[in-house]
Each structure stands twice: as structure tokens, then as C-alpha cells.
């Protein structure tokens, strides 16, 4: 037996089973090999289901598991840490023709992936709001201020109402579904144990993205204004302070 043949036959049911397998009673080894095939495919499908529960609710379990199978046989994990498994599934969904009738599906998947990342991100004590107050004493230094965000901060923007869609699917019973055709951006962060998923406007999204790139505060504020003519810098900063998105500031 060589493990290469065994491994390839696990993920591709069209391949013959490897040589050299035996059953004590001489029964068909392909049916016994199918136990391993099933274990691999079913467990990886389960891992994707755990990472993308709202995507599954949106399209139903049958469709989801079939779609997951299409992806996972070509994208088995590269690491034994399955918490990191599933990156790239959203991009696959975006190009997956049978899912084209649910145009927001891929962006909801991106949000769910961001949720997993934020959930498992490194811990850090957020900056206390009071620690920002001294910066006001020297306003001329504010534009050059560097703001490090909390390691759990993730953002994404969509043409669809991804935060509303995701939020509606957190309830066991769904009474009313939101209109998906409204652009929303999401801010995710986990200052302590709970992941917050917050709908933010395009300007706030641009500001956070700029800060993530390492831009100083003045440049980030400008990025917000450039992205959104109605950008309200005070509201944007208030959201970031309220949800404890700042890790530290330095001049």
C-alpha cells in the first residue's frame, strides 16, 4: 500500500481503491474502503457546515452539502487545525453557477468566515476610552496619530444586506426576512468573549480599512470622507470606541 494512492482514492470516488487491501472474510474491500471515504467527506462537510451555518440555512442542507462536496474534494485542508478550514469557500460560491440565483450567498459566506477569524483571533485588552482623552490635549498631533486596531477586528463590504441577513438567521425562528438588496458593510470584533457584528456605513468601512493598512488617523478620516459624501466622522469614531475596536494609539 502506498499512502499516495490511498489518499487520492479517498477524495476521488471515481478512482479505484488502492492495491493490497484485504478483508478477513474475503468480502469486497471497496465497500470497506467506502467507510474511510465517507469519514473524510462527511467530516469535512461537517466542518464547513459548522463554519457556514447561515449559508446552509439560506440554501438548505441538501444543496449546501452537495455544494460543499464540490469544493472540498479539490480543497482538502492543508492544516490539521480545522478551525482554519474553509477559507476560499466564499470565492468558490461566487463562481458556482447553481448558486447564482442567490447572489448574496457568497458575501454572507465571507461574513461567516470573518466571524470564525474574529472568534479565534488573538486576545488583547482593548484601549480604554479614557486613554483617548489625552490625545485631545494636542489636537495638532491628531492627524498623525497611529491607531492599532484590536486583533479581532475584521471588516467587509457588500452590495447586499449581509449584516441584516446574518442577524435574521441567528434566531431559531425567522419571522421576517430583510430586503437583501441594500448595501451593507460589516465590522466584526471580539473585545472579550462575544463577537460583535455591526452594520457600518461605507465611510466607516473605508476608515477602518485605512487604519488596518496602517494609515494615520487623518488619512483614514479622509478615506472615509472620500468613500461616502455623507460621512459622519464623529459617528464613525463613536462606533469604534463603543465596540472597543482600538488596541493602542501612538503619536
Amino acid at each position: 500500500m502506498n499512502q499516495s494512492a490511498f489518499a487520492h482514492a479517498l477524495l476521488d470516488a471515481a478512482r479505484p481503491v488502492p492495491d493490497g487491501l484485504v478483508a478477513w472474510n474475503g468480502s469486497r474491500v471497496d465497500l470497506r474502503f467506502a467507510v474511510y471515504r465517507n469519514n473524510v467527506v462527511a467530516s469535512l462537510t461537517d466542518a464547513l457546515t459548522d463554519a457556514y451555518p447561515v449559508v446552509q440555512r439560506l440554501v438548505g442542507a441538501t444543496f449546501f452539502r452537495a455544494m460543499a462536496h464540490e469544493w472540498l474534494v479539490d480543497h482538502p485542508p492543508r492544516s490539521p487545525v480545522l478551525a482554519q478550514y474553509g477559507e476560499g469557500f466564499a470565492a468558490f460560491i461566487a463562481g458556482f453557477a447553481p448558486a447564482a440565483s442567490v447572489p448574496y450567498l457568497s458575501d454572507v459566506a465571507r461574513l461567516e468566515w470573518a466571524y470564525v477569524q474574529s472568534f479565534h483571533a488573538a486576545d488583547a485588552t482593548p484601549l480604554a476610552p479614557a486613554a483617548l482623552a489625552p490625545a485631545l490635549a494636542a489636537p495638532e498631533l491628531l492627524p498623525a496619530l497611529r491607531v492599532a486596531l484590536h486583533p479581532s477586528v475584521r471588516t467587509l463590504a457588500s452590495d447586499y444586506a449581509i449584516v441584516s441577513l446574518w442577524g435574521a438567521h441567528q434566531a431559531e425562528r425567522i419571522d421576517a426576512l430583510p430586503d437583501p438588496n441594500r448595501a451593507e458593510a460589516a465590522l466584526l470584533l471580539r473585545p472579550a468573549l462575544l463577537v460583535h457584528v455591526v452594520a457600518i456605513d461605507a465611510g466607516t468601512h473605508a476608515l477602518v480599512c485605512a487604519l488596518q493598512r496602517g494609515a494615520p488617523l487623518g488619512e483614514a478620516a479622509q478615506a472615509g470622507a472620500d468613500a461616502d459624501t455623507g460621512f459622519d466622522l464623529m459617528q464613525a469614531l463613536a462606533v469604534l470606541i463603543r465596540y472597543q475596536a482600538f488596541r493602542e494609539i501612538r503619536p
Binding site: M1, L11, G20, L21, V81, D123
Partner: protein, 302 residues
Amino acid sequence: MRVQTSPRSIDHTAAADELPRRAGVGLKPEHFTGILARAPDLGFFEVHAENYLVAGGPFHHYLGRIRERHALSVHGVGLSIGAEGPLDRAHLDALAALLARYRPQQFSEHLAWSTHAGTFLNDLLPLPYTGATLRRVCTHIDEVQDRLGRRMLLENPATYLEFSESTYGEPEFITEVVRRTGCGLLLDVNNVFVSCTNHGHDPYACLAALPLDAVGEIHLAGHACEHDAAGDPLLIDSHDRAVADAVWTLYAQALELTGAQPTLIEWDGNVPPWTTLLAEARRAEAVLRAVAPTAWHEEHVA
């Protein structure tokens, strides 16, 4: 410091800090807060190492708090000790960091492979038992024990196939691995029952042929019953239900041979309410008490 891995230099008497010879359960996130609120009287908890190889967040938060009050066993499911290729050094380093952080009383892995050419297949896959695979497995276990600086336990697998090239029976193979590496045995009683049934062997004979003096922990789990193409039973190591009666009986027999051992109830799929898990653990403790009353008394009263 490098730890010598020749059999004689590994300390078989174990550190003073070892798993209590009682029942434990697998730690599941859905039970985190309940366990902290109730502080149940259990021997230990066991976690799958890979679930905690994440940077931060609630998993670490709760495991840290539970570890403050309970004994811990860390069970790896991704090291791929039986692989043809080399061990993943980065993964081994991550395991070492996890063990340093939580200081578990026990660390174990499987006699199986799961990674090939950088691809993780997420199943415990079988290997032939030959001179070549024996040398490879021993080399890998030496490397693990060397890097982690501690003795590991190796778990006997549940398998559905055998290999025509095998020249050792499974108990003989495991006996030789234990002899050469000084590792211990994680005796999975359900796996003994499942594999023996699937390969037409007598589970009691298999049990007796294993290196039972090296047992450091026992696993119990539920299995599903199916049939192969010839209509013979094909048992699946599903971990999604209560332990079968036949496995309880085999467990009692195993304890007669090994004395009381830390015993884990594994329940990974269709995870039941906490009280159901606890009832399985209590059942294991009843068997422990019946088989080894003296050891139990010392452990429990001390």
C-alpha cells in the same frame, strides 16, 4: 534540554502529577459554562489538541479556567504518526506550546496517519504492520517524545480494512512500538472491540495480547453497527452514542488485567446533554470501583 528516548531512560513511574484513576469526559464547548458553574466531581477532562491550536478567544478562556480546577488530558488527532512522510515540525511545535500552556497530566496520539503531501484528510487512516512501518512509527514517536519532553501514550486504532503486506498482528506491532520507544498505551476498549469484530478476531484474545503494563489511560465510546458485503458485522467507531454493553463487559475484563485506569467517555457526535455524559462517566466509575476497590478508595479518599 534533550530528553533521551531510549526505552530505559524514560521514566515509567510517571510524575507525581498524573491523571486520577477515575472517569473523565471529553470537553465540549456547549458544556463550558455549565462545567464552570457546577464544578462536577469528575476525574479529568480531555480535549482534542487541534481544537485549541488557535490564537485566542473563548476556547482558550474556558479551557484555562476549567484547567484551574480539573485534571486534563490532551489528545492529538492530527500528528499523523503513521504517515510515510516526515512529521509536521510546525505542528509539533504548536503542540509543545499548547502542552506548556496547559500542563496536562497526559498527552496521547493515534497509531494512524491523516496527512499526506501536505493535505490533511481528517480521518484516522490505517497502516500496514510491517518491519518498515514499525521503524517509521518508532522514529516518529521518538521525535514526538523528544520534542515534547515527555512520554506519550499511543492509541490502538479502530480499522475497517487490513493489508495483505502486514507481517505483524496489531497487538504484536503495538507491543513492539511500546518496547522500542518507551511510549505508553492508550487502550481504547471500543477500538479493540470494533477492530476485532471487523477483522474476525476474538477481542478478549487481542486485549490480552496488548502490552497492558504500559496502559496509562482507557477510552470508551459508542459505535454504530453496519454490515459488510458478506453480511458480517462491520462496526463503525462513530463516537455518537452510548457505550455498547459488549464494550462495557470488555472494559471490566480489561480492568481486571490493568488495574484501575483513568477512563475517558468519548462522545463527539450528537453530543448529548451534560447529565447523559455524566451518567456514562458514573457507570465507568462503578466498574472502576468494582474491579479495583482498593485503588479507588485511596484515590478517592485521599
